[in-house]
Symmetry: D2
Subunit: 111 residues, 4 copies
């Protein structure tokens, strides 16, 4: 993962693009790429989308990851510990005994 | 990275949530999390946002990564090769000599 | 419609919020509200979403419209003529004889 | 406004697209158009974006409004009353005396 981040930053530095990459515009760019990924599923169910658009889905997911890794790099966020700590928070928010087999959100849940 | 993906899938399997996680709804969820990340920058410049919301930014970026890794897992996309192949495509779309130091998009560029 | 826009601007002026409402942050806010609308459909099909979340769907759609009308107001865009001119462009992009009954995008279409 | 909605629905009916337009996919489409609007502000401040991209901003805002009006039409939401009722809710959430001149969210506000 470190060597991938290094390549992403190299790509940026060769083009001297750091000057445009403030965190706010990177966060904007991340939502734009997530939308482009979603566009592959517009008017389709999942299986049609995958059948027709697998190449684009892969490319757009890669763009989402590239911007995510850039943001992590620039804000000095350790990805691994950020994910693990978020999984723990989610586990507390969604305890197994109350949320097993239901797609309800914790805000919708009533005991 | 593999051990993190394993933890994410474990979290899901313990709650029996695979049944809801079709790729289309995962792509929707990814855009929702990207928006929640962006929300931390609403009405603020980057430095204010980081000063006030660093904890939430870290958490929302983690959620973006969690959904991205889930989509990659379910669609059997190899993250590393997807990112590297996308960087190559981007390098062709944005050759250094024409795009160094400019934030123009390839669609805007006129020689 | 004019009287509604007037009410929206009044609401803003009473709170002295114009100072935060530059067009870029309004465009960000619009995507955030569109995501909150979409969130009501997460993990659900349309009919379940409508059955469970109709009140929230109405509220979030209203927020999308409020921000859209604010942007139009601030940029002096005449909504009616903007919509009519866009419908004409879409009609050229999607001529009836080639696109009737198909959900293909013009970029996907091959004759 | 009624005559505009009529034109939008006419455009759709001529292409026989109602069959694809379930509310969930319309909500997805609305977020995609909101993102395309936001894309005009990527890497730019508001004034540069307006100077360079005013035509596209107008077109994308029109697309956001077209999808919003379609959703309202299909779900039989009265736009005017939805907006007015949401402004009232927002007024309760953001009372003038506590929120005048601040961009804080109600969730951030501490007295």
């Amino acid at each position: 993962m470190d060597s991938i981040i290094k390549k992403i930053i190299e790509f940026r530095d060769e083009r001297d693009w750091k000057q445009f990459h403030n965190p706010k515009d990177l966060a904007i760019s991340l939502t734009l790429e997530a939308s482009e990924l979603l566009e592959n599923f517009q008017w389709k169910d999942s299986s049609e989308a995958i059948k027709q658009n697998m190449e684009q889905i892969k490319d757009e997911l890669a763009d989402v990851l590239i911007y995510s890794l850039m943001i992590a790099h620039d804000l000095e966020i350790d990805i691994e510990s950020a994910i693990l700590s978020k999984i723990e928070k989610n586990a507390k928010k969604y305890p197994i005994d109350r949320f097993k087999g239901t797609s309800k959100k914790y805000s919708e849940e009533r005991e």
